[in-house]
């Protein structure tokens, strides 16, 4: 049976939202990534941005360039329906795997011990499970390059902290419920911080400004403090 079509709703007068699901479902998100890729490949001149999110996909159009005979909402709905009616691109071959080295020392992961205790796991086992989880970027949003990553081991599911930390350092890896995030900038945050990567998550001056893009697989690799420092001070770093 074919999966149901998304609801197509306007998002202001220069974008539409293909709304697939009110709840997080990894299979639905994978389908959203495939649809985004299918539309991207068509290089539709009036679409300026395609934003796959957790349960929906936004199509932003350039209202000044929009020059179709049909209203944009209908044109977008027809485009989505047509793409979903055909074979969607197989992303398993296309997806990049981004390896993210993480130092899980207490200094960098202030919430790790508490998370392990809540989950009735040893700290080493919690790290092992975080590294072994089949992580995938579901959405990049909130800040430039800020990934929302699904696939977290169910045993590691913990709610957000009741009191957000006023300052979470850039590069911190944190979890809540079924997801992981990596903070590209130092900001306040309510997720449980497990560790930190020495990699730069977002740099507008790079050819690939965001380390992680929607649909990417993510592999966290546990490193010690020495390796963290080596990578942090490595070639190409200021």
């Amino acid at each position: 049976m074919a999966p149901p079509l998304p609801r197509i709703v306007p998002l202001g007068d220069a974008a539409v939202l293909a709304d697939f699901s009110d709840t997080l479902d990894l299979a639905v998100n994978a389908r959203i990534q495939q649809l985004a890729e299918a539309i991207r490949r068509r290089q539709v001149p009036w679409i300026v941005d395609l934003v796959p999110a957790l349960g929906s996909l936004a199509l932003h159009f350039d209202p000044d360039r929009y020059d179709l005979q049909v209203p944009p909402l209908e044109a977008a709905a027809a485009l989505v329906k047509e793409c979903l009616g055909r074979k969607l691109p197989d992303l398993s071959e296309l997806a990049r795997t981004v390896e993210v080295p993480v130092c899980y020392d207490a200094e960098f992961g202030p919430d790790l011990a508490e998370v392990a205790e809540r989950c009735k796991l040893g700290v080493e086992e919690a790290i092992r499970r975080h590294c072994a989880s089949p992580h995938r970027v579901l959405m990049v949003g909130f800040a430039p390059g800020h990934p929302y990553i699904g696939g977290l081991d169910e045993k590691l599911s913990v709610p957000r902290r009741t009191t957000p930390r006023p300052k979470v350092i850039a590069g911190s890896i944190a979890i809540a419920n079924t997801q992981s995030v990596v903070y590209p900038f130092t900001i306040s945050g309510g997720w449980n911080v497990l560790g930190r990567t020495p990699l730069v998550i977002f740099d507008a001056g790079r050819e690939w400004p965001a380390l992680m893009a929607p649909g990417d697989r993510v592999k966290f690799r546990s490193i010690d403090r020495e390796e963290f420092d080596r990578i942090a001070l490595g070639p190409g770093k200021p």
């Binding site: 709703v9 306007p10 202001g12 007068d13 009110d22 941005d49 932003h60 800040a143 390059g145 929607p214």
Partner: protein, 338 residues
């Protein structure tokens, strides 16, 4: 060297029409808060509309002009002076090297754009010259201008300026000891008439979740722009908006003009530097045609929302575009471009 910043003003940034194609990486288009005024400033010095301009906010900057050249300040009615004499707005002005341009307070509106002939010479970051303050990139070092900054125009700034001004000035010149200008001015396109801005808005996609009192308040009350508003969003002071059903919302894409309501019940209109995704309910969406009018509201200013359908919002865009095209053509005609 074309300009040196003497005094930075409240928030003075370099902007253009923004960067597109990167919202899936969390990078918002950014760009001029009032893109119509940005475009107009460019047309008034003979530039393409994409050229970078200087966005002045509420309390403007002061510049030392280092080379003779053609300038235009368009948008909010700022109290602007050149060497102490009144500086004319909304028209091409030839300024001599050594002059000091002081852009004081905005008397009406909040933002104006200073364009120079040939555009400002700054590198593009990710396809745009816009300053994105939250992540500190684009524009001049990803930050607002500060005293001592020097801005460059094109190498042929002075000769290009003279050529263009000769075109604009065919029907007569106003000559003062401080500047030369023309006898006409471009009409105001984005400033609210009277006290409050009237802005069209559509029901947002979570409209039905709000209780009837909140629905009525959004379109019935006058809202005040809070002092903690910025280029990311306008926080509006008024009655608390509440939902009848407090359904958890999965974080989803937002857009320019989305009116979202966080748990404190204070609506926020997302502006040029907004986040690309968010998990707050969307009670309304401001019509794209009325974003410039909203951008011209300073903190303390008032706004009323008028309900519009999607079709009406799209028609408003077409009208705005037609009006801009008409004004743009008459400016091009003055320049002798036609």
């Amino acid at each position: 060297m074309s300009l040196r910043v003497v005094r930075a003003g409240l928030l003075t940034t370099l902007q253009d029409l923004g960067r597109y194609g990167l919202q899936h990486l969390g990078i918002v288009p950014c760009g001029a808060m009032d893109p119509v005024s940005h475009r107009m400033a460019n047309l008034l010095v003979g530039n393409p509309v994409e050229a970078a301009t200087i966005e002045c906010t509420v309390l403007g900057p002061e510049f030392a002009v280092l080379r003779d050249g053609l300038f235009a300040l368009y948008g909010a009615a700022f109290d602007a002076k050149l060497d102490g004499a009144l500086f004319p707005l909304n028209r091409p002005v030839m300024i001599r090297s050594g002059a000091v341009l002081t852009i004081g307070k905005a008397l009406r509106g909040a933002r104006a754009y200073l364009a120079i002939a040939g555009g400002l010479r700054i590198p593009e970051v990710l396809g745009s010259r816009s300053t994105y303050l939250p992540a500190a990139f684009g524009g001049l070092g990803g930050r607002a201008l500060k005293a001592g900054d020097v801005l460059e125009g094109p190498d042929d700034f002075t000769s290009l300026s003279k050529r263009r001004f000769a075109g604009f000035a065919r029907k007569g010149v106003i000559s003062t000891p401080h500047f030369e200008s023309v006898r006409w001015a471009a009409p105001e396109l984005t400033l609210p008439i009277g006290g409050a801005a009237v802005v069209r808005a559509m029901e947002g996609r979570h409209w039905d979740q709000f209780d009837t009192g909140s629905q009525a308040a959004l379109f019935g009350e006058s809202w005040k722009v809070s002092p903690d508003s910025n280029r990311m969003g306008y926080r509006l002071i008024g009655p608390r908006l509440t939902r009848a059903m407090a359904v958890e919302i999965l974080s989803e894409p937002t857009c320019l003009g989305t009116v979202q309501v966080p748990n404190d019940g204070t609506p926020i209109v997302l502006m040029a530097d907004h986040q690309t995704t968010g998990g707050y309910p969307k009670i309304a969406e401001v019509a794209g045609a009325d974003i410039p009018a909203l951008a011209q509201l300073a903190p303390g200013g008032s706004v009323r929302f008028v309900k519009a359908t999607l079709e009406e919002a799209q028609a408003a865009r077409r009208e705005t575009r037609a009006r801009f095209r008409q004004v743009g053509q008459s400016i091009a005609w003055e320049l002798g471009k036609t």
